[in-house]
């Protein structure tokens, strides 16, 4: 169990670090997008590369931030029933559903998304827009993001098992994400 918990801690650390990247994508995207609007209006200049980089960063926010959000229990739930469960029941529900829902779903999408990247990389696909960007880096974000999500799912499973077997304290605090 100790080894597994160490593995889980390592995964959590990785997700957190990658999440920090996603956090900075927010600021960079906002700056670039505002800059695009200003330069188009003030200077009449507009560049497809700069327009595209903003949604590359958006993709980064989502795919790199998703696992960190899972670690923080930040994916929204309908807490009609869940909110009234005891911590032990919540841990059971999380364990079973992560095994049955999250892992297979994320695994399948991960498996399906690899060719998307691989094809793009193989042919050196670029944007159809003049001066557009290479496509494979953003497509790589899909398998990377879903891969990290699967890892984080594994970490959550380990933590729930540890909790249920008494190797770890209950910490099923779920706070609805602010909107």
């Amino acid at each position: 169990m100790t080894i597994l918990l160490k593995l889980s801690a390592a995964i959590d650390w990785l997700s957190t670090q990658v999440g920090k990247l996603a956090v900075w994508c927010v600021f960079a995207a906002a700056l670039i997008s505002a800059g695009n609007a200003i330069s188009r209006y003030a200077a009449g200049a507009s560049s497809n590369a700069w327009l595209e980089i903003q949604w590359y960063l958006f993709a980064g926010m989502v795919m790199l931030g998703g696992p960190a959000t899972l670690r923080l229990n930040g994916h929204v739930r309908v807490d009609l029933i869940y909110g009234n469960m005891r911590p032990r029941a919540q841990a059971w529900l999380d364990l079973v559903c992560t095994l049955l829902f999250l892992m297979p779903a994320v695994g399948i999408i991960l498996w399906l998304s690899w060719p998307l990247f691989a094809n793009s990389f193989a042919i050196g696909e670029t944007s159809n827009n003049a001066g557009g960007l290479l496509r494979w880096p953003v497509k790589l974000l899909l398998p990377v993001g879903f891969g990290l999500m699967a890892l984080q799912g594994l970490s959550e499973i380990i933590k729930r098992v540890a909790t249920l077997t008494g190797h770890r304290e209950f910490e099923s605090r779920y706070v609805k994400p602010v909107q």
Partner: protein, 468 residues
């Protein structure tokens, strides 16, 4: 497809069960979609390569420029919440209207509307007003239920007043231009503010003790000092409103860029108030990243679901049910609004928007309903999802910051008159569609959102829609 007819209803039932048990919605949706997807492939509904289109859909979501508005507006709201603008506004207007009965309520409604025109998130408004106005209202003897109700409702109005996040998301799901949705929402926003103010006026006539005027000793600001406080709140607000809403309506910026401009503007404002710090930046970016990831993952999940759902002709099933309703278009509208109202008790607006709306929009289109009008109508209705006890977000935030002396039951009961006012607004929009449509014609200007990056759409669902 006879004999297989049960598949879509079964899938829908599975959706309800698995979403309700309380596992994160994004993954429940994806799992239901994939689980039923494999069964459907086995039963010969569609070939496997339909599911292979999934990554393309995810990629399509990530490259959707409009959805980028979600983090920008969230970021802007998160900064505004922490930068002191609401404080200035409330202080000024509170003192200005204070001598009137119900004055603090009017101030809250007005400030709610102004904040709503700047940002697109409820949290920013409700938290700021709850922290500043609620203690003042309590101190001067306002009825608790009235005070909490007006704050929650005025914070929620943010979702109707452009540039609202709800309208962005709805526009994306319905397939209507955001600029038109914003223009269409202007009329209903104004009427909704007037409805709220009218209600406060009625309360001040019939139950004057609930909303007393400020006593003279509480009116600390007078003359030029009062004027200065109001100006200090209003000028930055107007600048921000222009930066966001003005640039969209003039066609200078896309809604997404306007959101980015607003976020940068909010940072500048925070700097002006000497509140800009690394911590403020970090916290705002942190919560923005989490909300964005959370929301987009729901959207990814719901796409997985709808891919299979359409593969088993679920869209036709829903369409058949909804078009056969008695009363034609009116019957459909009543049913839809009831459905959204009821769902709003336990689903958030993102969940409604991503799961339910894609099922409804094609039906509305078939029935010849104006989609922009339909979107604004749903947006108005979805306001109630923020106000429903016990899970409404506005109430939830208010509970978080209200002093313990205020009971949760007061917050819940206090919300009810305002939910009714919101429903009256829904009725008004159905009765007088001109409220929405009148504002759209005036602005059919070029919409720069539409000329953007070409998505490599691999359109999945083997175009099923044939109307018999």
């Amino acid at each position: 497809m006879s004999g297989f007819d049960l598949m879509a209803p079964l899938m829908f039932a599975g959706l309800i069960v698995f979403v309700l048990i309380g596992y994160p919605v994004a993954f429940s949706l994806a799992a239901v979609g994939l689980g039923f997807g494999f069964v459907a492939i086995e039963l010969g509904y569609f070939p496997f390569h339909l599911l292979a289109a999934l990554p393309d859909r995810v990629y399509g979501i990530l490259s959707n420029e409009l959805l980028l508005a979600i983090p920008f507006f969230t970021f802007m709201g998160a900064i505004l919440e922490r930068c002191g603008l609401a404080e200035d506004l409330l202080e000024g207007f509170g003192q200005l209207f204070g001598p009137l009965r119900g004055g603090l309520s009017y101030a809250v409604i007005l400030v709610g509307a102004v904040l709503g025109a700047i940002t697109g998130t409820v949290a920013a408004s409700v938290i700021a007003m709850g922290l500043i106005s609620l203690p003042a209202m309590m101190r001067y003897g306002y009825n608790t239920r009235h005070a909490t109700g007006v704050i929650a409702a005025s914070g929620t109005i943010t979702q109707l007043i452009p540039p609202s996040l709800v309208l962005v998301v709805l526009a994306d799901q319905i397939g209507a231009p955001v600029g038109d949705m914003y223009a269409g929402a202007i009329g209903p926003s104004i009427v909704q503010v007037l409805l709220f103010a009218g209600f406060v006026a009625l309360v001040s006539i019939f139950r004057p003790k609930d909303v007393p005027a400020l006593p003279p000793e509480a009116r600390t600001l007078k003359g030029t000092k009062l004027a200065w406080t109001c100006v200090r709140g209003m000028v930055p607000s107007l600048v921000l409103i222009f930066l966001v809403l003005g640039t969209i309506l003039l066609g200078v910026a896309t809604p997404t860029e306007a959101g980015a401009l607003g976020a940068i503007g909010a940072l500048a404002l925070a700097a002006l108030h000497r509140r800009l710090s690394y911590r403020l930046m970090r916290e705002s970016m942190d919560s923005t990243m989490r909300i964005t990831a959370m929301v987009i993952f729901i959207l990814i999940g719901s796409n997985v679901f709808s891919l299979t759902f359409r593969g088993v002709d679920g869209d036709l099933w829903i369409e058949g049910m909804l078009t056969d309703l008695p009363g034609g278009v009116v019957g459909f509208l009543v049913a839809v609004n009831l459905l959204v109202f009821v769902l709003a008790f336990f689903l958030d607006f993102f969940e409604i928007a991503f799961i339910i709306i894609p099922l409804l929009a094609p039906v509305a289109k078939t029935l010849g309903i104006d989609l922009v009008w339909f979107g604004v109508l749903l947006g108005t209705n979805m306001q109630t999802s923020f106000m429903h006890p016990p899970f409404g977000f506005a109430l939830f935030y208010l509970r978080g910051i209200a002093p313990p002396s205020i009971r949760s039951s007061d917050i819940y009961w206090g919300a009810i008159p305002w939910v009714i006012l919101q429903l009256i607004m829904v009725g008004l929009i159905i009765a007088f569609p001109e409220l929405v449509t009148a504002f759209i014609e005036t602005h059919e200007a070029a919409d720069p959102t539409k000329v953007q990056i070409e998505l490599p759409t691999v359109d999945d669902a083997p175009a099923v829609i044939e109307i018999k």
